[in-house]
């Protein structure tokens, strides 16, 4: 099952750092989210797109996670040559992870 079937997400940028918040629709899936969406799994999914670290903040009140990815945007909105400078699309790559 893909994460997209049980969760939703939004990605944003500050400088060269991307954050992606992810929430499960059904609170019963929160443990699965905690178990499967680890920093290492996220780092593997992004591969060479992210040169820095992945930090994971848990948000139990909302059955969610906030994932913070450094050196993630090819230098940041104003410097990157990527087609999606803000990493707006990153939310969809997270949701494609198998859970």
């Amino acid at each position: 099952m893909k994460l997209r079937e049980i969760a939703y997400a939004r990605s944003g940028d500050k400088g060269d750092t991307s954050n992606i918040c992810v929430f499960v629709y059904d609170p019963a899936h929160y443990n699965l989210l905690l178990e499967r969406i680890t920093p290492q799994v996220v780092a593997d999914a992004f591969g060479p797109l992210v040169l820095g670290d992945v930090t994971r903040y848990e948000i139990p009140a909302h059955h969610g996670l906030n994932l913070v990815l450094t050196q993630a945007l090819g230098g940041g909105v104003s410097l990157t040559l990527r087609a999606d400078p803000h990493g707006k699309s990153f939310q969809s790559l997270i949701l494609d992870i198998d859970v």
């Binding site: 939004r10 400088g15 918040c21 909302h62 906030n66 410097l79 990527r82």
Partner: protein, 444 residues
């Protein structure tokens, strides 16, 4: 509601935001205050470039279009706070004043907030630029701009001076809302818990349609009604929290999911969201759906504001070039990959000049329409070359290679190229006491 409350809405979330939802909210009689965020990270550096070419330029480019809104809304007792000034708050104030007089609306009190331009301080302190791993001093004449994020303090000062319209430069996004909330409800600017709550409201309003169904749909899992007609959000705020909603008859949605995604948008540690006003803690914010397209939010916390102010430093990085060309039909991917190899080979002699170069392959149905849909390869591929360098000739040489794909592998076409100045913005941190603001009131 027993507690004193204030009604405040969003008028803009960035420099090119649509104006219709702002006019709708201004004319709705549902809000007393409107906050306009007009700046994204790069907007100010680009505005500085416009100002360098013309001392009367560098402010928000929508001011003439906003004059009717300001005229009507302030006549009805409404008050507006915005970072319309961008690189040139004085020019913004002059333009608003002249525009208002031209439509017969005299007597509008316009406050200008200056002090966010910290180019001199940044030079003197030789600030570190962590993302570039260097210091300001090393930039020499490539240093274009430096703007500190300014908090609610001078906004409150301006509102206390009876301003109808408050115009600043790099006023921080949430502070555009924190200022009016604190002014109206009498909240002290060192009551960190209340500032945490006000900042929560500011954060939910400052991104406009991000709270009402924008950047949200993912069919079939998530859709909203009438996504062509999204509204800007507004809120009723009191000491217990805030009710966030949108105008009836508009599209989109305000619910638990839309509010959550905005609550943690562009935030790192949820317990430490740093603004000029406060260190806000959003970890345990409560969101309750209290009606159709209506949520009540509460439970934000706050602690002491940071001792430094974030500064965005604009740096001239030379030029950015982009060139694109398409291939379609059988073997299109192979031909595009061949083109990639040819371009890289031809640009070898320039490689020392490029600070960055990449070639990517895009595409869906732009050449043959939906009728052509092969099963085992893409219908089309669009090669996109992007390059940056401080050497304009090198950038042009690279971009021309996209054009020469008319004569590369068979069937290359649809070339589009561009070369634009590349201004990077990078963060730095300046001790708060090195930044002083000034409020000056003009009457239209």
């Amino acid at each position: 509601m027993g507690n004193p409350s204030v009604l405040i809405g969003c008028g803009s979330a960035y420099a090119n935001d649509r104006l219709g939802p702002a006019f709708d909210l201004a004319r709705s009689a549902r809000v007393r205050y409107l906050g306009f965020d007009c700046l994204a990270e790069r907007t100010l550096a680009l505005a500085q470039l416009r100002k360098l070419q013309n001392p009367q330029a560098g402010q928000d480019e929508r001011i003439d279009d906003l004059v009717p809104l300001v005229a009507e809304f302030t006549a009805a007792g409404g008050r507006i706070v915005g970072n319309f000034g961008a690189a040139n708050p004085r020019a913004a104030v002059d333009q608003f004043a002249a525009g208002l007089r031209a439509v017969g609306r005299t007597g509008v009190r316009i406050a200008m907030i200056e002090g966010d331009d910290v180019l001199n301080q940044v030079r003197q302190e030789d600030l570190e630029l962590p993302e570039l791993q260097t210091t300001v001093g090393s930039l020499g004449d490539r240093l274009v701009s430096a703007h500190a994020y300014i908090g609610a303090e001078p906004i409150v000062e301006a509102l206390e001076a009876d301003a109808d319209l408050v115009v600043g430069g790099r006023l921080a996004d949430p502070s555009l809302f924190v200022g009016p909330i604190c002014h109206e409800l009498g909240w002290a600017l060192d009551d960190w818990e209340l500032l945490g709550q006000a900042t929560l409201v500011g954060h939910l309003l400052e991104c406009g349609v991000h709270s009402t169904g924008g950047n949200f749909e993912d069919p079939p899992y998530r859709t909203v009604p009438d996504p062509h007609n999204l509204a800007f959000p507004f809120a009723a705020v009191d000491a217990t929290g805030a009710t966030v909603t949108k105008l009836p008859g508009t599209g989109g949605a305000v619910n638990l999911a839309t509010t959550r995604t905005q609550l943690y948008y562009e935030i790192h540690d949820p317990r430490r969201y740093l603004t000029p006003d406060v260190t806000a803690d959003f970890l345990n914010v409560r969101i309750e759906e209290t009606g159709p397209d209506m949520v009540h939010v509460s439970g934000a916390q706050g602690s002491r504001r940071p001792d430094t102010l974030k500064v965005l430093v604009g740096v001239d990085m030379g030029w950015k070039g982009v060139g694109e060309a398409s291939f379609a039909g059988p073997g299109c991917l192979d031909r595009a990959r061949r083109a990639d190899e040819i371009i890289r080979r031809r640009l070898e002699s320039w490689s020392e000049e490029f600070d960055d170069l990449r070639i990517d392959l895009q595409g869906w149905n732009s050449l043959f329409g939906d009728q052509y849909r092969p099963a085992d390869e893409p219908a089309e591929v669009r090669l996109r070359l992007a390059v940056r360098s401080r050497n304009l000739a090198a950038v042009r040489a690279a971009v021309y290679e996209a054009e020469y794909l008319y004569f590369g592998p068979a069937g290359g076409g649809g070339v589009v190229t561009s070369v634009t100045p590349m201004i990077a913005v990078t963060p730095a941190y300046l001790p708060r006491e090195r930044v002083s603001t000034n409020v000056e009131v003009t009457v239209s």
